[in-house]
């Protein structure tokens, strides 16, 4: 039977790649090092597959179809939005586990949209490259990765209550999988950030700390109680990505979160938090 071994909540900030030298060097280094710490911890967890829960940025899914939640069950590559230092590559998807999760969903009220041949965007590919692929290099063996995309940045947004239910379903489906996988989950998202709006560059540390406190306490219920109006006002349109955190936290269903790093970086337009989710 498969086992959930832990998880992480980490950002996926493309500006890090576009303008790596924009923030003070010490702050930039702290962020890059946080990814490295996550990679090291992933090796220590001995994970064989990582499920990364992210969101489209209105480039993968267009107006003709906007899925609430989607899982890549086949060939996977990415990212579509290549960046300096983040080039398109093949992703070793765990297709069998992904198809199992989707099939399990149909037995309990979760009709997954399936991506049979998928190209990711940076929401998946940044944590994949900096954590999963890096951990594979350290470990000396391939760690597979499954992309899950939920509607956190393009309306109609998935409800936060549904994110909890989806996370619970993921937890049960992984545990029911007959293969001997050790599975980690990553909730991929920034905390406060305003994307493409006139407030771009604003970072709200007070809001960020509030979210971090909920995550470290594994307080999914109170995190999900924050209204969209409150999140948009205090964390920006990018902070709607806390849905990815909610889903990942519920899927791990761990005992506590541990803050690895937090950096408010206006030059990278985001409050960047790194939290490890422990199952013990």
């Amino acid at each position: 039977m498969a086992e959930i071994v832990g998880g992480f909540l980490v950002p996926h900030d493309p500006v890090m790649f576009v303008a790596p030298d924009a923030p003070p060097a010490e702050q930039a280094q702290a962020v890059w090092q946080a990814y490295e710490t996550c990679a090291q911890r992933l090796v220590e967890m001995d994970a064989s597959t990582v499920i990364i829960i992210g969101n489209d940025h209105y480039m993968l899914f267009g107006t003709t179809c906007l899925p609430q939640y989607c899982i890549a069950t086949g060939h996977t590559e990415g990212p579509l939005d290549q960046l300096p230092g983040l080039k398109k590559q093949e992703i070793p998807n765990n297709e069998d586990l992904a198809r199992f999760i989707s099939a399990q969903g149909k037995t309990c009220g979760f009709d997954w949209s399936e991506a049979r041949s998928f190209t990711t965007d940076h929401a998946f590919s940044i944590p994949y490259q900096l954590i999963v692929k890096r951990a594979s290099e350290i470990k000396g063996e391939t760690i597979q990765a499954i992309p899950i995309y939920i509607a956190s940045a393009v309306d109609p947004f998935i409800s936060k209550e549904r994110c909890i239910e989806l996370g619970r379903h993921l937890h049960e489906a992984i545990q029911a999988y007959p293969g001997a996988e050790k599975v980690a989950l990553i909730g991929s998202g920034g905390i406060s950030h305003w994307v493409g709006t006139k407030e771009s560059g604003r970072v709200n540390s007070e809001f960020d700390r509030q979210i971090i406190d909920y995550c470290c306490a594994m307080n999914v219920a109170d995190l999900a109680q924050l209204s969209d109006e409150y999140v948009l006002e205090n964390g920006g349109n990018g902070a709607m990505e806390i849905r990815n955190f909610i889903c990942a936290m519920q899927a791990v269903n761990g005992s506590k979160g541990h803050l690895i790093e937090y950096q408010p970086v206006p030059q990278w337009v985001t409050g960047l938090g790194f939290i490890e989710l422990s199952v013990q």
Partner: protein, 94 residues
């Protein structure tokens, strides 16, 4: 409905090579495929991203459209167009 059509156009102009090519070739002809009024066409051709956002268009699309299609393509100009004094921008393209 207007917002939805605008989002469809901007999505095409952000990610679809064929649409981008046709728009560059003859923007009026490209836009004639869609149910738009004259003022909507003016808004698109003048890259009035502020007005588009006021109509509810997703800011990621206005930004993607600006980066891909505007004559300038610089995020500093995009911010000016929005009426923002922001120093930093969430450019999602390299």
């Amino acid at each position: 409905m207007k917002r939805d059509v605008l989002e469809r156009i901007l999505w095409n102009l952000s990610v679809d090579r064929f649409s981008k090519s046709k728009f560059k070739e003859d923007p009026q002809k490209f836009l004639s495929r869609f149910p738009l009024e004259a003022e909507d066409i003016d808004m698109i051709l003048s890259f009035d991203v502020k007005k588009m956002q006021e109509m509810g268009v997703n800011p990621m699309l206005t930004m993607g459209y600006w980066i891909e299609m505007s004559p300038d393509r610089r995020m500093s100009s995009y911010n000016q167009k929005l009426g923002s004094e922001a120093q930093y921008s969430a450019s999602i393209k390299g």
